[in-house]
């Protein structure tokens, strides 16, 4: 019964769209303030200085594109896979920063330096989102999606087919 619930199409839609909204929401402030976001990336003391700005420009755009793809329902599995990879990256980055005792704002949803500081609850939140991403990759939900609109093959809601 739990299995039936997990693979239910509307449930899959909710997961997909929910994750997409979170990623779009997280990307906007970073795209608007790339300099401030680069500063936060530097604070983590993980990337070498030469890569920080390029990373700070590409990562938020990838978040935005993945969010849009998840909501509209095209390239759902690749977008969810990227979301998962990014979340694993965030979990590692936050854990490293916490273990070093670096006390910085997380740069998760806002580039303000007064925004939320790093903490364990952040890792738990990321792990929760990672579960959503894994679900979205696994289920390849096509309920109310562009993919289904353009490709009306039968049984397209079954597991793990195609992109």
């Amino acid at each position: 019964m739990i299995r039936k619930f997990l693979f239910d199409e509307p449930v899959g839609l909710l997961v997909r769209v929910g994750l997409g909204i979170i990623f779009i929401f997280a990307s906007i402030d970073k795209i608007l303030h790339p300099g401030a976001f680069a500063e936060i990336v530097n604070n983590y003391q993980i990337l070498p200085g030469s890569l920080i700005n390029i990373f700070a420009l590409i990562l938020p755009m990838l978040e935005l594109l993945c969010g849009i793809a998840l909501i509209l329902g095209f390239l759902v599995r690749p977008a969810a896979a990227w979301a998962g990879i990014m979340l694993v990256m965030f979990i590692i980055a936050v854990s490293l920063a916490l273990s070093k005792g670096i006390n910085i704002s997380c740069g998760c949803f806002s580039t303000s330096s007064h925004a939320r500081m790093l903490g364990m609850n952040l890792i738990l939140q990321d792990i929760g989102m990672l579960l959503l991403a894994v679900h979205a990759v696994y289920c390849d939900n096509r309920y109310l999606s562009l993919a289904r609109l353009f490709n009306k093959r039968p049984n397209s809601g079954t597991l793990g087919h195609g992109v």
Partner: protein, 175 residues
Amino acid sequence: MKKLLIGMAILAIAATVLGLGSNAMNSSGIPLIGYYPEIEYGPDSVIVPPSAQEGDPPFITLKEAFGKYHDPGTIFLDAREPEEYEAGHIVGAINLPFDWIDDYWPGVEPQLNKNAAIVIYCSGAECESSLFEGRYLRELGYQDLYIFFGGWSEWESRGFPTTTGGQNSETEKMQ
């Protein structure tokens, strides 16, 4: 699987083009390679007290101490008085005042590990408690000990991470 990887490549390329492209078009964009200076350590010389003897734990520089600070397995011990510790100490350091070591040891010992690297410091070049504490721990069988003789004064003067408060309010690492 192949389709998945192709889709991921499409997203990555699109994000790169859009991210770098929009930055290039934007008059207030940022340079692709920013300027992030390395942290200045100052003169990287190790400070050794005159009373050092053969067989003492190694003395390390500020730079080495900062390197060990970034290694999660390393424990920092603050050998100063509790009042000094409360007024400010290296983030994550445990207070083991050498002058009260018998009183404090039962509380500190469970937090240590004989195989872990331990860095001991006190006020700076004018105090030797860190050295004495290092000898004390070595007698007890701790092997991987380091004396950061530049101590609190050198650490603080560089603006490295510090915090305030007593031992029992040590939730700092997980804030």
